[in-house]
């Protein structure tokens, strides 16, 4: 069970969080023409990198904030967590 540092609440057990997928995916702007390929890429295609991965977590059983986590997908080491308006270095 991971120990995740919520940027708002501090360290909490994984039990309190929900995983939210790749944190680098940007939703296309509204009201823009977009090709089938680009849209499909946004909806369906995700990388599954070995090693460092920036992902989203949601503190569901806590402050209910979404935030960014940089985690190693092999060792589960968490290098950094950040609020949505902060950068992962």
């Amino acid at each position: 069970m991971l120990s995740i540092k919520c940027p708002f609440c501090g360290y909490r057990s994984q039990k309190e969080f929900a995983y939210g997928g790749d944190g680098t995916v940007k939703r296309p702007e509204l009201n823009q023409e977009i090709s089938d390929d680009k849209w499909n890429e946004f909806v369906y295609l995700r990388k599954s990198p070995r090693g460092k991965h920036v992902e989203l977590w949601h503190h569901v059983a806590g402050c209910r904030q979404w935030f960014k986590v940089q985690r190693d997908t092999v060792t589960h080491e968490i290098f950094q967590t950040a609020k949505m308006n902060e950068e992962i270095k």
Binding site: M1, S13, N31, H58, Q65, W66
Partner: protein, 998 residues
């Protein structure tokens, strides 16, 4: 023969308290402080079980977690538990133990014929034999194997014991209370760290209880007591015995189980039997010690053969002799200590040492005690069936591949030592890749992947002095890192006897023309010959050899067999052990009960039960409840002898004819506030929201980005920047997370806040042509006319002084209202409605009638919005805006979503107008067609239409609307039914929607 192997003046038992117990039906006595094993051994009982495959007689081999054989069935406090390790289970009054895997008895076991047929049971026997014919597996092979190769019998009765879970956090967790653990915990605690010290056994001290050493001029036991007493007084220390750290997970999360109840004769009522601890430690110190490994020889599984350290522990801790004519068989010095302990008790052991004649402090001590030592000797095979009677021994040749001679010597036990294996399980679980240390012929921890450190024998340090030095230093350093304090503790003086290096000899050669079984893994009955077969048949990877032979796969996880197995593979393959590699160590370290894992989360405590404020009323009025997620909802209100079908028909009919009342508290409610709320809703829902006036509600559908319908519900504009959203009961939590995601991650520039208010509001729906009459009487000051409060209107009123929200919305398709009051007034509101509604023939209705009403109206719900349908599929195209963008809109342009023959919603009635159509039925053209019969769609919801008095169903069918008027068959192989149905519109009742607007 009462306790004839018990010593009168040795051991750490409470001799004042005798304990009687039963084993295989016979009564015995032991003392408080005994384990089942030590008490049986004190009574001269060695034969405790039959082996897994060959049903060979088996006895005790170890004195703790190392035990591979003595797994017993235990009856205690009215429950039965299988596979209990007799060497770990503490004796309590009234316990009944029995042998497993034998029939009719352990003394005479029919299955032992397998032993004489053993050439028919080679490695992979099951794989090879029971493959063919396939149909034999379920009926013949599997039942047979299960019966013959069983361990104990799991109880089918409900476990009435109490189990608990506990969460704890600390700076330093120390696993194991031997010299390494005690010194580290002490140094860290003295330096201000919050320490948890866990000891698996009932007694602290580990090897200090049995080794002949002194620390600060105190015996090992006395020093242990001193340190433990001091630690117990420190507020920053938690000390737990009977507590085993059995798992090491990510981010230094360790799991420990504590045996809190089984050793108590009169367990207090609320004391749990076992407790599971989740411990998150900043640092973990592994002082888990080491386990002696055996030397392999012929018939080495005969009862009466022990690990030499176990024999010593039985003397020193339990005051029990495992034999009175011991033969000590060793490749190292430590077994000499066992010999000396025997000697102290007036027993004369003979030592066989595989090493050539040499001298060490221990050897000289043994010699001066007149102990007979035979150097360059080994046991060839043990003699005796149910108990060792003698041993065939021989002098090894120069390269130890054969014997120069052989002779038989009498003995009643053989104590064997093949040196020590560090217990690296937890280190390995933490991610530490182990390395092979050829000084000790075993794996030791390498680089840490998490914050863990091994100290003492668990990392291959076998001298006390070094261990204490390392322990005090490591405990101090780790604590300093956390507490930043600098109070170091000096290492005490210690005395121990110096030991010479061990000999790499691990397996006695087989003399020519002899075929003694030489076991590597006792618990799974894997012999040297089995592993050789596997290698001959081409298995190379140790992981494959393990699975093919089942080596090390028993519940003891190969604690005494892994390294010997690896040695054998390495020898045959002409490799060295590190090249062979080791198999994976997995939690739990020893088996734990399912009860411990489950904890309190059983029955009512399995998940929270959500009840609406009106729940007590429902109960009093014969509601039959149904689970809706965690909620309990009335399914129907039973009158007299009604069944579900009759009751729901009555309730639904009453809504259509008069007025019904339904508890809708469980609907998800989300408060949405902020200047950009309208814009946000406009992006979330498929229809337009920017122009919704204050005091109006609107029905909306929200999609996922992939175009699939996620949820539907109404949202009402309460004031300029305040909206009240409702969701379905099932999706309430998901919708909230969804909204939060878009507000926080995708469009953080929108000034909107969302908050769940599901629990804050109690809701009741008034539905039916007479609902307005009830409403008018409930709110006499309010104009509730169709003009003042039209369909999809919203107003607020005072319900006998209580603020109420009134929504004119309808799920039933009738004139209907939903009224919300603060939860505390929910019951009051409900009772008032029932009281006032009496003259209007009001009746409560449950979810079954609710479904009936919405199905015949063609309103979609969960069964239609099943995570596969888009708005076009379920007649919601009118709600999809062509002008504005919204979540999931781009996906709706996908070609597959626009195929004309896509499955769409229709209605169905059986052509006989009588037979109800089972939900889930497949729709086909020809019910008798050859399989696979092409499926056109499926029945999603079924009801008995109270309006038309015949069955009606909703279905999702290929080419939807074009099928209307056609006849199909609804087939359900599960119900063995094939019903001819006619496809009609999904709006079966009031398709113009007049009633809701009336």
């Amino acid at each position: 023969m009462s306790q004839s192997y018990r010593l009168s003046n040795e051991g750490l038992l409470n001799r004042n308290k005798a304990i009687s117990f039963k084993f295989n039906g016979k009564k015995y006595t032991g003392y408080e402080g005994d384990t089942l094993a030590s008490a049986l051994l004190a009574n001269g009982i060695h034969l405790v079980g039959r082996s897994f495959k060959y049903h060979r007689p088996r006895g005790f081999f170890g004195a703790g977690v190392d035990e591979p054989n003595a797994k017993l069935q235990i009856q205690l406090n009215g429950h039965s538990e299988p596979n209990v390790n007799a060497t770990e289970f503490e004796l309590v009054e009234g316990i009944e133990a029995s042998s497993q895997n034998c029939w009719p008895s352990v003394e005479f076991d029919v299955g032992a014929i397998n032993n004489f047929l053993n050439r028919f049971f080679p490695a992979g026997f099951y794989y090879k034999t029971f493959m063919w014919p396939k149909s034999f597996w379920y009926k013949i092979y599997e039942p047979f194997i299960r019966k013959a190769a069983g361990l104990g019998v799991a109880s089918i009765k409900k476990d009435k014991e109490r189990y608990e879970h506990k969460y704890e956090y600390c700076d330093l967790l120390v696993a194991g209370s031997g010299p390494a653990g005690l010194s580290s915990a002490y140094a860290a605690a003295k330096n201000g760290a919050r320490v948890i010290l866990a000891e698996d056994k009932p007694r602290f001290g580990g090897s200090l209880l049995t080794d002949d050493v002194t620390i600060d001029n105190l015996s090992g036991k006395a020093w242990t007591d001193k340190i433990i007493t001091e630690l117990k007084e420190m507020p920053n220390v938690i000390i737990k015995n009977r507590s085993q750290v059995f798992g090491y997970y990510d981010h230094n999360m360790t799991v420990m189980f504590e045996r809190t109840g089984d050793h108590l004769e009169n367990k207090p009522k609320y004391t749990p039997r076992q407790r599971l601890w989740y411990i998150r430690a900043k640092e973990v110190l592994l002082s888990t010690g080491s386990i002696e490994r055996p030397i392999v020889f012929g018939n080495n599984d005969t009862p009466g053969i022990f690990l030499s350290a176990a024999a010593k522990e039985y003397i020193k801790v339990y005051g029990v002799l495992v034999g009175k004519k011991p033969l000590i068989f060793t490749n190292n010095d430590s077994a000499y200590e066992t010999a000396l302990e025997f000697k102290k008790q007036g027993v004369h052991p003979i030592i066989l040492d595989t090493r050539e004649e040499h001298s060490s402090e221990l050897i000289e001590t043994a010699k001066s005690n007149n102990i007979q030592i035979k150097f360059s000797y080994a046991v060839i095979a043990a003699n005796g069936y149910k108990k060792v009677k003698s041993a065939l021994i021989g002098k090894l040749n120069k390269d130890k591949t054969d014997f120069e001679n052989s002779e038989t010597i009498e003995c009643d036990c053989i104590c064997v030592s093949g040196f020590w294996t560090p217990t690296v399980h937890l280190a390995s679980q933490s991610g530490n890749k182990l390395k092979f240390n050829d000084q000790i012929d075993a794996f030791v921890p390498d680089k840490s992947k998490q914050n863990e450190t091994s100290v003492g024998a668990s990392k291959g340090t076998f001298t006390l002095k070094e261990t204490l030095n390392d322990g005090f230093k490591t405990g101090f350093n780790l604590s300093k890192k956390i507490t930043k304090n600098n109070n170091s503790t000096s290492t005490p003086n210690s005395n121990e006897t110096k030991k010479n290096p061990h000999d790499k000899f691990w397996c006695s050669p087989l003399p020519k023309d002899k075929n003694y079984k030489r076991f590597v893994d006792f618990q799974n009955d894997v012999a040297v010959s089995d592993i050789e077969v596997a290698l001959r048949e081409g298995y190379r990877s140790i992981e494959h050899v393990k699975r093919y032979t089942t080596l090390g796969m028993a519940t003891d996880q190969g604690r005494t067999s892994n390294l010997n197995g690896l040695q054998l593979v390495a020898n045959v393959e002409k490799k060295i052990v590190p090249q062979v590699g080791h198999t994976t160590f997995r939690p739990p370290f020893t088996p734990i009960t399912i009860g411990t894992i489950v904890g309190r989360e059983v029955d009512m405590e399995y998940m929270p039960t959500r009840k609406t404020p009106m729940h007590t009323w429902h109960e009093k009025n014969n509601a039959v409840f149904v689970d809706a997620g965690a909620w309990k909802r009335p399914r129907y209100y039973k009158q007299g002898n009604e069944n579900l079908f009759e009751a729901s028909k009555r309730e639904a009919k009453n809504v259509r004819d008069h007025v019904g009342i339904c508890d809708v508290t469980t609907l998800g409610k989300i408060d949405i506030k902020g200047p950009d709320a309208a814009e946000f809703l406009n992006r979330v829902y498929t229809n337009a929201w920017l122009k919704l006036p204050i005091g109006k509600a609107r029905y909306g559908v929200m999609l996922r980005e992939d175009g699939i319908v996620m949820d539907d519900g109404t949202t009402t504009r309460i004031s300029e920047n305040h909206y009240h959203m409702t969701t379905t009961t099932a999706q309430a939590a998901n919708v909230l997370s969804h909204l939060e995601y878009y507000l926080q991650v995708v469009w953080p520039e929108l000034k909107v806040n969302v908050l769940s208010t599901t629990e804050q509001w109690a809701g009741a729906a008034l539905a039916g042509p007479k609902s307005r009459g009830v409403l008018a009487k409930l709110f006499p000051d309010l104009d509730v006319s169709n003009e003042a409060l039209p369909f999809m209107g919203y107003t607020e009123g005072s319900l006998f002084g209580i603020k109420a929200k009134i929504f004119r919305i309808s799920f039933s398709g009738e004139l209907a209202y939903e009224i919300n009051v603060e939860s505390d007034y929910g019951l009051f509101m409900w009772e008032k409605m029932m009281e006032i509604g009496k003259e209007f023939n009001i009746q409560p209705y449950g979810t079954e009638a609710l479904s009936t009403l919405r199905i015949e109206m063609g309103h979609v719900a969960g069964p239609e919005l099943d995570g596969r349908t888009i708005p076009y599929d379920v007649s919601l195209e009118g709600l999809v805006s062509k002008k504005k963008d919204f979540i999931g809109k781009r996906s709706l342009q996908k070609e597959a979503f626009n195929n004309s023959d896509r499955q769409k919603i229709v209605g169905l009635i059986p052509t006989d107008k009588k037979t109800s159509i089972p939900e889930g039925s497949h729709l086909v053209v020809n019910k008798d067609a050859k399989l696979p019969n092409p499926k056109l769609g499926h029945v999603s919801s079924s009801c008995w239409s109270v309006e038309n008095n015949n069955p009606f169903s909703l279905a999702i069918v290929k080419d939807g609307k074009n099928m209307i008027g056609k006849k199909l068959f609804a087939v359900s192989p599960l119900k063995n039914s094939a019903i001819e149905v006619e496809v009609i519109s999904s709006h079966y009742v009031d398709h113009e929607g007049k009633r809701v607007r009336s």
